[in-house]
């Protein structure tokens, strides 16, 4: 099934300058009992977003009237922990289309790419600079050009190239889906099974 295409994104961003944000923070386990992919955005960062009383925590950035946008600017080692794709669904469902960090956990990165959420790795230095820039001026816009693999902070003119493997880039640009790709090569898979497989 084709997915939404990704190409150029120009938007303000939401800063979350914490390190080692794990998937249990992104979406706590007690919200994983659903059997569809929708609606997880309501519980994104649930335990930081809401106080014990059930009210919104005014201190948490998602509740701040000042910040908005489609890019989450995270801290180092974002998305570690569980393999739950629900974390990516929650971020996407909330309205983010890219996450920027200096370092992502592996499974999180794969899950993001499989759902049209772009994980962008920039240097720790630029990340720090971006965090303070956004803090100072919440209207700061960033621009993501997937085709050129370029990430720019518009007011400062900082531009960095980000890495993405060529196949995944193509998938995102064209809205292609891995499963369609694999289904199309079933004969080759069956050949492999007949010839090479060790444990049947």
């Amino acid at each position: 099934m084709p997915k939404t295409k990704f190409n150029i994104l120009e938007t303000t961003c939401v800063p979350l300058p914490l390190e080692n944000v794990d998937t249990d923070q992104i979406i706590p386990a007690r919200f994983l009992s659903a059997t569809s992919r929708e609606g997880f955005g309501d519980n994104l960062f649930r335990d930081w977003r809401y106080l014990k009383t059930g009210e919104k925590n005014p201190e948490f950035v998602l509740n701040s009237p000042v910040y908005s946008g489609k890019v989450l600017v995270a801290g180092k080692n974002f998305g570690s922990g569980s393999s739950r794709e629900h974390a990516v669904w929650a971020i996407y469902d909330y309205g983010f289309r890219a996450v920027v960090s200096s370092f992502f956990a592996d499974i999180f990165k794969n899950n993001s790419l499989n759902n049209g959420l772009l994980p962008i790795v920039i240097s720790e230095e630029l990340l720090q600079k971006l965090q303070s820039q956004v803090k100072q001026d919440p209207s700061t816009k960033v621009r993501i050009d997937l085709e050129k693999q370029e990430f720019s902070v518009l007011p400062t003119g900082d531009t960095a190239r980000f890495e993405i493997n060529a196949y995944k880039k193509e998938c995102l640009l064209k809205g292609l889906d891995d499963i369609d790709f694999l289904i199309a090569m079933k004969d080759q898979i069956t050949d492999y099974e007949n010839n090479k497989i060790m444990v049947k």
């Binding site: 009992s33 059997t35 629900h86 099974e193």
Partner: protein, 467 residues
């Protein structure tokens, strides 16, 4: 011929196709599923109008959100019940073997795979669960995947994966009494950090690793994900083969002896090159405990909490936030600190040897009144064996109650939650904020250290209680 690592040999043998500047299409020998990360994948198949491609290669269990009491009754929580029923329905519809609730072989996915003879050397194994790395103890490439990838495997028995880099971690020498494999892995993670292995697949080697039982090896590989690694594996050896020989059935192998010949050759070649090599001395490892909110924040049980996360640097805001969550301060010692809960179980330490270790320490002692203990076997078979070996009796005599199998308080999706602000010494694998319940404070440790806390009500060096 070029010297190859064991990882390379298994991986290369499973590549159906390499995509230029892209991932490899990797064939999967064994696929485990559970209730939480599979429903959306089956929905996907339904939307595409396709069936599971190789249903006999997928094995299912319900473990994450099942209760650990009164399992014969229906699950009270409606969402959880619905999720478990959905899995049962999906398995029936697609002809997948399902060890559901009340099945005599039910249990945590990473416990039952090995004990039921589905995990074998040389395999590629995936599951929508990060601790799939556990199975690496048998010399397999085993790693966690997301739900989109679960759908890929159901649809085509393949996934697309970039090949990770390779790391070898050797632990040599002899472990001191009271120091377990859990301490080894907590020690390694504390040295290289919770992200130190990201992008790598790790081979564990060295005499200290080779001396470990299969169960202890599973604990190590289980937590390789906690240093960010894609997975960890240990070359199969006599210990592995003995374990496999004792199983009542080994699935997917026609001629066991012939298979054994193949498994005996499975090792990294002399001179194979790893992208990173680390070497540790077993004698440096003491019983470990974590003090923060990621598994890299661990220390020897008698040490003081470090002043900052990176040696010589100023403590970062994240580090201080983590300590504040735990109610700790830099330079504080944890020995003697009161403990409210003890959890023994999970796919890290929920096997029979873990319960034997716990029993060894509590035998003839009494549970501390201030402690609530959650004792949760990893599977029905483990539960049964505990009864047969008389462990349950030892536990009950000491004032402990043994529950029914499941993930339980490891991730607190069921009612086994640690209350906010309470301290839990846990044999599980993650001390993340809220992992064991909103506001819960988790201290990861070995079953021996958990036992020591359970009988003293305080953080206690287990070496002081061992005869």
């Amino acid at each position: 011929m070029e010297a190859k690592t064991l990882f390379d040999k298994i991986w290369d043998g499973h590549v159906v196709r390499s995509i230029k500047e892209g991932p490899d299409v990797l064939y999967i020998d064994r696929h485990y599923i559970h209730e939480v990360t599979s429903p959306q994948a089956f929905n996907g198949l339904r939307q595409r109008g396709i069936k599971v491609f190789r249903p006999e290669k997928t094995i299912a269990t319900a473990d994450h959100n099942i209760p650990t009491k009164d399992q014969h009754l229906t699950i009270k929580d409606e969402l959880s019940r619905n999720q478990v029923e959905r899995l049962s329905h999906n398995c029936r519809e697609h002809g997948i073997e399902y060890f559901g609730l009340n099945n005599s072989k039910n249990g945590i996915v990473h416990i039952i795979g090995p004990e039921l003879g589905y995990t074998l050397p040389g395999m590629t194994i995936v599951c929508g669960d990060s601790h799939t790395s556990t199975h690496g103890a048998f010399g397999t490439i085993a790693f966690g995947i997301g739900t989109s990838e679960v759908e890929m495997v159901l649809a085509t028995q393949c996934i697309m994966q970039p090949k990770p880099r390779k790391m070898r971690i050797s632990v040599n020498g002899k472990l001191e009494k009271g120091v377990t494999s859990k301490d080894i892995i907590l020690y390694i993670i504390s040295r290289i950090s919770a992200a130190g292995g990201t992008g790598y697949f790790v081979e564990f080697a060295g005499s200290a690793i080779q001396s470990l039982s299969m169960e202890a090896r599973m604990t190590i590989c289980n937590m390789s994900i906690e240093m960010g690694a894609r997975g960890g594996l240990i070359a199969p050896d006599e210990t592995t083969f003995e374990y496999l020989k004792k199983l009542s059935v080994v699935h997917g192998v026609k001629d066991f002896n012939k298979a054994l010949e193949g498994w005996k050759k499975m090792k990294s070649d002399e001179g194979a090159v790893f992208d990173m090599e680390l070497v540790y001395d077993a004698a440096d490892i003491k019983p470990m405990i974590t003090y923060g909110t990621n598994p890299g924040m661990g220390m020897a049980i008698d040490a003081a909490i470090p002043l900052s996360d990176t040696a010589g640097k100023e403590a970062s805001a994240s580090y201080m936030k983590s300590l504040a969550y735990m109610g700790f301060k830099p330079d504080m010692k944890l020995i003697g600190h009161p403990v409210d809960y003890v959890f023994i179980g999970s796919c890290t330490n929920g096997r029979i040897e873990d319960f034997r270790a716990f029993a060894e320490l509590i035998r003839g002692k009494k549970k501390a009144d201030s402690v609530t203990a959650l004792i949760v076997p990893g599977s029905k078979l483990v539960e049964e064996q505990m009864k047969q070996e008389g462990l349950v009796k030892i536990y009950e005599d000491a004032g402990f109650e043994v529950r029914q199998p499941g993930c339980s308080s490891c991730l607190a999706m069921n009612e086994d939650k640690i209350p906010a602000g309470k301290y839990a010494v846990s044999t599980s694998n993650r001390n993340f904020e809220g992992r064991q319940g909103p506001g819960a404070r988790t201290l990861l440790a070995s079953p021996l250290t958990a036992a020591a806390a359970a009988v003293t009500g305080r953080i206690t060096d287990p070496r002081t209680l061992l005869s």
